[in-house]
Symmetry: C2
């Protein structure tokens, strides 16, 4: 059998694939942003079993063009304004190529020291780039440090799990049988990401999203940020019932509307309520903006939190997956996750002098993802990252102005950073459901047209407890001002036809 890693064959294949990618990136605006295929179209276009014998690149490339490309929603299209951005960039793509080409495993320090130590250093670089306190870094004497997780969902699960064990240990409950322990209670705002409740489910603290026996979803204010007083009261109520509050997740920029739970007041509320658990900040999207000094207010108080995560894979030009998870208490993390079978023992780990990242995450194996951050931060420089964020904010400011200038529309919550939530205003004699349906129709027409893609959410507004609103999320790698202006013209044109 020929060498599966034959350098010449890899080179030749890469040449062809790079030419394909060059064409894709050059012509990306020629595709409808949102794919138009029907369910099972791709599935049914492919044979039911793998080929017995090798096939040529030509055949694969044909299928890429004919079957795959029409079935892609183009996240790197400059007019992709859905969800949050998922920034790809040249340097990050190359780092993925390098990581795959090296084909190494970073589960232990010893299985490739560079994989672990570059990641430690990149976590430190990014911590300093967003001005985190040094206790979240690997600086000498610091009890903390950072790690790359796949997603914020995984980071939240790990934080919750570490918080559970540390809280039980502090309460001297680890020797008490699980059923004799008080109820463990976790807290997040009613606007928190679904991953918080999903983490509770996986951790065994909720049977499903409706099961709130151990989960408290705290009320929010007019700006959809958590009420610290409501949190304090909830913790006090649970303590009065003999429960054990163990985990508070504050959201720094909610997915629906970029609401910012106030960190310092939340830490104050926890202290007043004698909370002994773990404070986690889910800043998945927004903390990337903290590379710019003017946005760092959102992390005021983070020094009193036990952990924080945010995703350079959203808005910092680092391809998915790259969630940075920081803790001030790495010992608690390791205590909650470490398990060392003999086949993983080695002298470096036994010495205690190294970091073994397998003890910081659910999986054992791990890719060399730190290369992405290294390439991105070196090739763009922090100045480049700041510029990217500032352009996204500037385009959003412009979009907000445009919306405000059209009487038919309204901005429904204060715009923050790169996210504008807006809708067609309720019309006289229209029910709130009709308003929602009209906005949904507007959104569907935008998206089926293929020239832009936006998504929606529901939030509590005066006329409806869960009013449908349209999210304009700006910050894609390739998005420029004229794409935003064109999208707005399109929205206006479609609104005209809805009359």
């Amino acid at each position: 059998m020929p060498n599966p890693l034959d350098p010449d064959a890899l080179q030749q294949g890469a040449d062809r694939l790079l030419a394909w990618l060059h064409r894709y990136h050059t012509r990306i605006e020629s595709h409808p942003v949102l794919s138009r295929v029907n369910p099972r179209e791709v599935f049914n276009a492919l044979p039911d079993a793998a080929p017995e014998t090798p096939q040529a690149w030509d055949a694969i490339q044909r299928d890429l063009d004919d079957i795959i490309l029409p079935a892609i929603t183009h996240w790197q299209h400059p007019s992709f304004f859905g969800f949050f951005p998922a920034n790809a960039s040249g340097p990050a793509i190359l780092a993925e190529l390098l990581s795959a080409g090296l084909g190494l495993q970073g589960m232990l320090w010893a299985t490739s020291p560079a994989c672990t130590e570059l990641e430690m250093k990149m976590a430190d670089w990014m911590a300093r780039a967003i001005d985190l306190p040094e206790t979240f870094t690997f600086a000498p004497e610091s009890p903390g440090g950072g790690v790359i997780q796949g997603t914020a969902s995984e980071a939240t699960l790990i934080a919750l799990h570490a918080g559970r064990k540390r809280t039980l240990a502090r309460a001297n409950l680890l020797d008490t049988p699980r059923r004799d322990r008080p109820e463990l209670i976790l807290y997040a705002s009613a606007q928190a990401h679904s991953s918080v409740v999903k983490a509770a489910m996986i951790a065994g603290l909720a049977d499903g999203p409706e099961d709130l026996a151990n989960v408290r979803l705290i009320d929010t204010d007019a700006d959809l940020a958590m009420h610290p007083d409501a949190l304090e009261q909830a913790i006090r109520d649970d303590l009065a019932l003999g429960h054990l509050p163990f985990f508070v997740c504050a959201t720094v920029g909610t997915t629906s509307s970029l609401a910012f739970d106030p960190l310092a007041p939340i830490a104050d509320a926890c202290r007043r309520a004698n909370f002994t658990g773990w404070l986690h900040a889910d800043a998945a999207h927004a903390a990337s903006a903290c590379v710019c000094e003017e946005h760092r207010w959102m992390l005021k108080g983070i020094d009193r939190f036990d952990s924080l995560c945010f995703n350079p894979h959203k808005w910092l030009l680092t391809n998915f997956d790259c969630d940075l998870f920081y803790t001030r208490d790495r010992a608690a993390l390791i205590d909650a996750l470490s398990i060392t079978p003999e086949y993983l023992r080695n002298s470096a780990s036994d010495s205690g002098a190294v970091v073994d990242y397998r003890d910081w995450q659910t999986p054992l194996g791990r890719r060399f993802r730190a290369l992405k951050l290294w390439f991105v931060m070196r090739r763009f420089g922090l100045e480049g990252l700041r510029e990217h964020v500032r352009e996204g904010v500037a385009m959003s400011e412009r979009f907000e102005q445009l919306v405000r200038a059209d009487d038919r529309f309204e901005i429904v919550v204060r715009r923050k950073l790169n996210l504008t939530c807006f809708r067609l205003r309720p019309e006289p004699n229209e029910s709130s459901d009709q308003t929602g349906a009209r906005n949904k129709r507007l959104l569907d027409r935008i998206n089926t047209g293929g020239r832009a893609y936006l998504t929606h959410t529901t939030i509590p507004l005066a006329d409806h407890p869960s009013a449908l609103v349209i999210r304009m999320s700006i910050g894609g790698s390739t998005t420029r001002m004229h794409h935003v202006e064109q999208a707005w013209e399109l929205i206006q044109q479609i609104a005209d036809t809805l009359r």
Copy 2:
């Protein structure tokens, strides 16, 4: 700011990086397999903060050569025989490049239908390639299907979680408060991978690896496979105590010694004991061999299991991460993991006609990993994959012969597939600890020499309940017979010096 996805810049960077990779793969044998750096060497060689302004590729490349390369343990080196293989291959590397270049998200069907449907099809291809029953595929009427998880650890956690909810539902316990429910008990062999206990920890069923209140590690036989009778008795005992057995994990090829828990007898034992829970098979490494008919005996009985996972990223030329997780009951999986906030709702999902893989895993976001399986299966064909496995087995047979021909050594458990566990025989008047220390010395000398890399484990042998043995794991992408023979010569030479 220049376009971060500029096609020409990507092309130029790729040309340089590919040349670097070509050199790396061509000269890989010139590096010591196991890195020789000391703790913090890489960390301290790098600046403490990211650069403010962009840096040139030249500077990065210099650091790659000077700092990173010496700190890599070369998993693709042909003389890497540690752990299990982590096969990289040209087609899989290119697929990672393409996945990064497309930069899309597969969390929902709608966010890129091709990402989901190619994955469904690739799961089917691989199911058929290893001859799984059709109930594990997306064939019409099938209740099952497959999904790519990052690692077997993540798959086990998901299986355990789904098993918990389904078992509780079947017992009509979901309306009972958690503390009033019977104790949930899970079972695995004493030789099972550490990820099973780690999953129990994260799922809230164990405080740590020592906490076995809800975990039963079942005795194994002389070949280190689970005793079905012991499992049956354990389940009966727990039921008699009023507990609720909910999860059995059988290991198809243990990490220590490739022991095969017998699936059909385990399913029989569960039936006899009136087990109502979830049967999961962790075949992480071994099931890849089932692309060859002669190895399919190991999965006999899998039709009675609820789920199975295995890792093409180990021995099937598909770069990490690529764990295939199959279930016969996708509804149970989705029921245990689904949570749909408004911002993820869309008409395709609401129609029920599509698969949304976010409900099959812990994370929300997901990369386009199916491309790896597609490229690998098409470029090598199933014949190529079979040849790769058969070469690995043939090299292992040869290695076993070589060991058996040298009286100083012994094969300590039956060799299976590509893993040979061996050691220097105990000498007269030597304590068992001394035998272990002598073998450890042998292993350390092999590894520090840099010409080959092997790892160890401990298993129960006649002279010691956890005797240290050396694992020779063959099956790297580039390993050929002469590398195995050279490794054996090296082992013999070092054994000579230990006299």
